[in-house]
Symmetry: C2
Subunit: 255 residues, 2 copies
DNA sequence: AGCAGGCTGTGATCTATATGACACTCGATG
DNA sequence: CATCGAGTGTCATATAGATCACAGCCTGCT
């Protein structure tokens, strides 16, 4: 499974490398490493002086940081096709923890190899730029969430996000089954809250028939109500006009 | 001042374009636009379908978002040499507001032109990737701050950051004069707090001789104490071991 | 089977920080 | 020079959510 032949097929399937020729993928496969991690295993830790860039092949990984006291904050979940460890590309040390969130298969490329490919195929650079810009936007949204929304709002917002990413809509009832097992603790770490608060609010959601749990997986029964919760933000009076420049976009010109 | 000649010299000075030949800069100058904005003017707003990529030449700009109620959150301050509007590159709409924080001169390049340059000079792509990776890391730090630190901690942390970016150290007293005028409201918008709270805490800092104000500018008298405040995070008991993987890095193996 | 450890659930406190409502100080502007 | 508005300072109050401290439950292991 970790023969050059196998690696070839693994690389073939990766989006980023779609523009490469057979020949080039072949060459890359020679030099790539495949690694497997069991759920919970650490893939990268901050300060790792690694010169490897990784691509997720199978499974999912979580990127998180820890406070001095050991509180976790999940920054993002990585999907198959996602690239990480890009700081190596840039000569910087990794700054976050990356851990297998499910059993995961990753493909590691040496920095030089990757750079060489990048030089030969600027479109790959564009691809990467696109990916980074996306991640940046995601991060900006996360900041907005933390600042503008209260915990129920943030929770509603992640649930919707998870629903979009891992959800399977029931054609009959319209319910969205989230095919990813997450503990309350995980959810709490995604939204900057405590486990207890998440438990409480989730109980409330359940009580109101907004969500439910089936076979230990979340089910979103009323996405629209979650949506509403996510849009209503936390308290805060409006700033004077000049601070909220006229002509704000968005569907709701509510106020 | 906005002749091709002038534009040439403006572009010359931009870091990103250092690898270009005279000839190429020349060509770029033909097609670039120079724009000037007075403090407070809006440069980009969310939803702008612009196909321009910008580079800050002079002055500073702030990138921020607004909640529905009009609360502002400053995502980052842009310096001369910084690139923005990169979402255009990627075919997405801008998602934040960009506003001149001082009188500002920016240089705008059409997407096609920029992409062409990118294709011809993959190193520029790498440069951009580097910049984006840096911004991403910055955003991750901001998230950590919001989640792990209380307001005094976050305030201490921005002040230090501003000190590093715009500070002039007094060789005699060691005090750091921050050469950037920021209102309490601005500071509040950077750390996700209210103006009142910032005022109060700043008063506390002043009372303890940690900071001071001179000619309406912040002066950091005791950077070390700010540092300490920034490192002590908010309440929170330690998580069990497995959640804070052994061998955390960082200079402080304090705990 | 049976037990231990991770999850979930719930309540009683406590506190940081938002809210709302003012007064005061400047520096700019007519 | 009078005034006006932006920025600052302060206080009294309310509250979301963290903390602490349990108790019951599955589930996977031995």
């Amino acid at each position: 499974m970790t023969t050059p032949r196998a690696r070839f097929w693994y690389l073939r399937g990766v989006d980023v490398f779609r523009v490469l020729s057979e020949r080039e993928v072949d060459r890359l496969a020679e030099r790539a490493l495949l690694r497997q991690y069991a759920r919970g295993e650490v893939i990268l830790r901050p300060g790792d002086p690694s010169d490897l860039v990784f691509v997720v092949k199978e499974g999912r990984a979580k990127v998180s940081t820890y406070s001095v006291e050991g509180r976790e904050q999940i920054l993002t979940l990585l999907e198959p096709g996602d690239l990480f460890g890009e700081l190596a590309l840039v000569g910087e040390q990794e700054s976050a923890h990356v851990e297998a969130f499910e059993d995961t298969l990753v493909c590691a490329l040496r920095r030089e190899d990757f750079e060489q490919i990048l030089r030969a195929h600027p479109e790959i650079g564009l691809h990467l730029i696109r990916a980074l810009a996306g991640r940046l936007r995601q991060a900006a949204e996360e900041i907005e969430n933390l600042v503008f929304r209260d915990v129920p709002g943030r929770l509603a917002s992640v649930l919707l996000r998870l629903g979009q990413a891992y959800g399977v809509q029931d054609p009959h009832t319209g319910a969205i089954r989230v095919a990813l097992r997450m503990t309350h603790h995980d959810l709490a770490s995604m939204i900057g809250a405590t486990r207890e608060t998440v438990t409480t609010i989730l109980a409330r959601f359940r009580g109101e028939g907004i969500t439910d749990v089936e076979h230990r997986l979340m089910v979103i029964l009323q996405p629209d109500r979650l949506q509403a919760l996510a849009s209503g933000s936390r308290r805060g009076r409006a700033r004077p006009e000049e601070y909220a420049p006229a002509g704000l976009r968005g569907p709701e010109e509510a106020q």
